[in-house]
Amino acid sequence: MGLKPVTTPDTEAATIVLNIDGETVTAKEGVSLYDVISSMGKIVPAMCYHYTFDPFGSCGMCLVLQEGKKSPVRSCTAKAAEGMVIRTDGEDLFAARKKAVEKHLSVHPLDCPVCDADGHCELQDMAFEHQVTNLANAKQKNIPEDTRSLVLDFNMNRCIACGECINICKDVQRIDALQFMKKGGFTQVVAKGDHALDCEFCGDCLAVCPVGAITNKFSKYVYKPWQLRKTTTTCTYCGDGCQMYVETKDTEVVRVTSPLSWKNKWGDRGDTVNGHGGLCVRGRFGFQFIDSKDRLKEPLVRNETGLVPTPWIEALDVTAGRLKDIKSRYGSEAIAGLITARCTNEELYVFQRFMRTVLGTNNLDSSARYGHMNFVRAAHHALGINRTMNTSADLTKAKAVLVVGANVTETNPVASLRVKAAIGTYRASVIVVDSMQTNLARLASHPVMVKPGSEGTFVKGLVKSALEQDLIDPDATAQAPEALSALKAAAQAVSLDAVAAETGIPVETIQEAARIFAEAPRSVILCGEGIVRQPDGYNHTLSLVDLAWVTGKLNKPGCGINTFTEEGNEQGAVDMGVAPEFLPGPVSYAQAEARQKFSEAWGATLPDAQSGQSLVEILADCRAGKIKALYLVGENPLGTLPKSFGVEEALSHLELLICQDPFLTETAQYAHVVFPACTFAEKDGTVTNQEGMVQFLRPALDPLGESALDWHIMVGLANGMGHSLPYEDTQDIQAEIRKVLPGYYNLGEPRPVVADAGAYLRNGYADSVRARYANGRTQESGRPYGLKLIQLIYHSGKLSTKASGLMDISPNTGALRMSLEECERLGLAEGGRVRVTSDQGSLELGVQADVNVLPGTCAFPEHFNEPPVKDLVRVAVDPVTRVPYFKSARVTIEKI
């Protein structure tokens, strides 16, 4: 409903009774009258109303008659009250609404022929519905079109001043980038301060604009809504799994829209806890890679002259033959495979089956290894679950949210709206622990800006502080008293002063944060790349488990520990068992009965329980010459990992490198065989979002050129090697997944998970906990600055750099981002170049000031390899989960 939900988990609103069109209706006190009417299924026209924000009341369309009042009232801004008698229909109301439409029409230009909104325009609908003809006194505005923004054009001649764009920006996005301004005699929507619009470019204003006042620059004038074919699919840029409509005209993608639109204006404000239906800049404007000119269109096979286009049948035959040859000469152990977590569940499933049964190797891994695996392994080990614990509704309705090392707005923009709603609508206390001044930190009640890399220490401080302040939940700890005492003993090693010194946060703040977290009835922990992609991520995640356990936030409804995934289907990659330690489920690969079950299901013997290398070891083995053939599906280790890791050397030792990718990546240039793969918009299948919701991908386009679906290629290779994978279409794979993982699809709802730490706490917890807390942080060399490879909201991995729209919005500036103070201190306020030196080498590059970066830190977007800042970082490997850490380093910076 438009107004803020009056019934929250904490307060229950009184029930009132009113009479609408002769029907008796009950409603909650304090809601908008418009919502009560629309909840009856009656549609009263309104142009400025949308359920996601507070009613604005500018269009004057939603008129109803209240008994006892002479003139009609605007139902959206009127609050429902006991005993109201309302009439919503009638000649007089129709005439009054018609008058309101006429008011808007009389100053609207005759733009329909060139307007992109024509055919999807509320003003058109209203004028048509109310049969407006022969308007007198029409006058034309002549306002120049504001084309200064990179993404959106503002044609204020067409604006009806409904304020939907401004309201959604303010109430939902909490960015507040737009405002009304009286200019040239007309009220216009302009970017704050009448500058060029510079915001997150989520495009929600575009989606809710009921006329064509805000238009999309990337598809300007190239379409009319009635020409487009709409395909509902799921965005795979990040783990939020937003539903989106890919709108295509013939063979090109024209635009991307989402369920958020002025057309879906009727709803319950409370429903926004499950998402408001919008997209972020990547989903909405980053679609150009789908029909990019750089896409591979045919298979390439290397001969003396280089990579040459080859027919599919020949390429598959050559590859299968060479794989067979390597398998027979060196054994299955000499083959390994890596797959990207942007593939569908079905493809990931076929991949691991192909690797394990056809090639007979357990050397396989996915890009979930880059970080998400830390969380999964910790949760698997400690809680017996394999994913996040809460739904987005829990997140919104939490009373306290602890965000640790998660720059949610930049990595998972739509999920961050849930936190923003918790802040704005439900008044939650939000503690943001980060080494960057993130967008959430600005909105949070308790921003805690720690020194780079000390997020984990801060968590330990929280645990210590919770123990010290006796914030222990007696019920939760009663089940394992010996574990509690072990934790207490281990925490002796931590002193709050030392934590304060290391993180740069005063002790009182730590204690207050612990108190807020422990005392709130519903507390949620969100951890992100600042924990799981930083050294010791596994242990830090376990510390978060400790914190949640002692404060009793593990098993209470609405409480839990959650993470965010960077790529669309990292959770699916884990669930499908694309890791040497997991079988689909995921169940541990070491479990004999699980291996038995799958070997029966697949009719093949699985590799040894002990065998199997993960990403880091696979590349090390390539370097050592132990692995002779590497199968990369959408992975680009050369572009991802620092030079010091020796990927180039590893690849050069290979006898066969197969790359399967939509684009010719850096790694693919070393390949012996390159297979053209499809993008998500051509695929049919499912992806699992970070919440565990399995959602559908539907093909919006036919595969470009000769490119093929990933699982088609794998089945082709298997056939070439004399094995048959019994799949003819996606449904076959899904049927098999249903058989081996009953209930996995679960009708698109997240499967409920129950965390149970009992076994973990009773068995061996006491021994490991001491080691974890004793393990003090070793300060690195005396280099003063922390370099962070950060993610930008406008990009996701390397894929988004192929989307021309996103590159227009956020090109590679090639500059190091530093705080203003640091820039000034180094005398770089007007720009300039610096030399950045780390243990791995040094690099010269430009500098740009960035308000998000804290003093003592510098940052560079991880999406760009030019200049090769990533090579300054040394790769550290987690001893338990084998996750490579390469997102931060200590550097010195000198001006040159």
Partner: protein, 416 residues
């Protein structure tokens, strides 16, 4: 192979009663199955009839239709109501105007649109002109089928005058698309008015001329009188309509009983036959042409001199073009109507119209929105073909053509 041998044996079986024929093959007498059409000059397009013949007599006939099936009813579900008008031109392609009229009437009934008075008169005039064209076309081809070629030239000469009149009226001779939901596309001009008045004077003597050729012609009489007789009861039972039904003596004409258009304001009689044979059906058509002339003449006299020809219902009818250029609301109306169509109320309607062949009905199911959910066309040709087996039984093979010819079938409407 064995079967073939058997057959051969039966054919050449010796009759034991006549041993003298031992050396002669015995001719087998059995029914002959004859495929007539679809490529046959007299089947009015692509009709195929499988005739079971006993000698030259028809014992059973099976009509095979669908060679001209274009899925018109399905096409209707994919376009707006307005966009379907040109598709109706291609139903009964010799009489497009009447199809337009029947369809527009159905949609107007669905949308509850009242047509301006001048438009009603124009619609009636043009519909009657179309009826004359239809009957002329029928007369020419029917006579041609029977062997009287001359009549064909005379009827087509006069039909040509009217087609040229159509060309001037709406821009096309056959595929007219002149009717609009809520009226007509274009008003009569002075020249058109003169031309139709001239035609009214010119045409009645011509009808007598055709009659001279046929009325006493003994071949014509032999081929039509008493051929394909159908009783009034059977005709109703088979759902026949139009001249085919009236030929059997049933006085049923929607122009009288549903009284749409300007018909209620005109005086005219409905000719009704007695015998229900092919000749009566011919006679009725000749008389209807005379009645049509009367109706047109009355309409031309009564028609209001001024007035709109298209209803002004902003949610259904197109705005005048000059308003589109200058008024936003008309521009919006134009864009909404062409890109999305008007929003029809949910419901079902059937509307029958007396076309020159019989009752042409449109049955529309709407679930709201700009496109019909289902559109069914009750085309007289199709219904009449259902009675063919019954009516052709016992007649000569040569009569088959004249029998379905007497329904005035057009396959475009039959197969749709």
């Amino acid at each position: 192979m064995a079967q073939l041998e058997d057959q051969r044996e039966t054919i050449y079986k010796v009759d034991p009663a006549h041993p003298e024929t031992k050396d002669l093959p015995i001719l087998r007498t059995e029914e002959l199955l004859l495929n007539m059409g679809p490529q046959h000059p007299a089947t009015h397009g692509v009709l195929k009839v499988i005739l079971d013949l006993e000698g030259e007599r028809i014992t059973k006939s099976t009509v095979v239709m669908g060679f001209l099936h274009r899925g018109v009813e399905k096409l209707a579900e994919y376009g707006t109501y307005h966009q379907f008008i040109p598709h109706t031109d291609r139903l009964d392609y010799v009489c497009a105007m009447y199809n337009n009229f029947a369809y527009c009437r159905a949609v107007e009934k669905l949308m509850n649109v009242t047509v301006p008075e001048r438009a009603e008169y124009l619609r009636t005039i043009v519909a009657e002109v179309q009826r004359i064209i239809g009957h002329l076309f029928w007369l020419g081809t029917q006579a041609l089928d029977i062997g009287a070629m001359t009549v064909f030239f005379y009827t087509f000469r006069d039909r040509e005058i009217l087609l040229d009149w159509f060309d001037e009226l709406c821009g096309a001779r056959l595929t007219t698309s002149w009717y609009r939901i809520g009226g007509v596309e274009r008003d009569l001009t002075a020249s058109l008015e003169t031309k139709i008045r001239d035609f009214l004077a010119y045409f009645p003597p011509k009808i007598d001329e055709y009659v001279v050729f046929l009325e006493k012609n003994r071949i014509w009489l032999a081929r039509t009188v008493g051929v394909a007789v159908i009783s009034a009861e059977d005709a109703l039972g088979y759902g026949l309509s139009g001249p085919t039904l009236r030929g059997s003596g049933v006085d049923y004409d929607l122009r009288k009983y549903e009284s749409y258009g300007a018909y209620p304001k005109c005086e005219f009689s409905v000719p009704v036959g007695k015998n229900g044979d092919t000749y009566d059906r011919y006679w009725i058509r000749i008389e209807e042409m005379r009645e049509s002339i009367k109706i047109i003449r009355q309409c031309m006299d009564q028609i209001p001199k001024e007035g709109p020809v298209l209803a002004d219902v902003p949610s259904v009818t197109l705005p005048p073009k000059n308003r589109v250029f200058t008024n936003l609301e008309s521009m919006i109306q134009q864009f909404k109507l062409f890109s999305q169509g008007f929003d029809a109320p949910p419901g079902e309607i059937y509307c029958g119209t007396e076309a020159h062949k019989g009752e042409l009905g449109f049955y529309i199911v709407s679930t709201g929105g700009g496109k019909p959910y289902r559109l069914k066309i009750r085309s007289p040709s199709f219904i009449h073909m259902g009675a063919f087996d019954y009516m052709a039984k016992g007649y000569m093979i040569a009569d088959a053509v004249t029998i379905f010819g007497s329904y005035d079938i057009v396959m475009g409407e039959c197969d749709r």
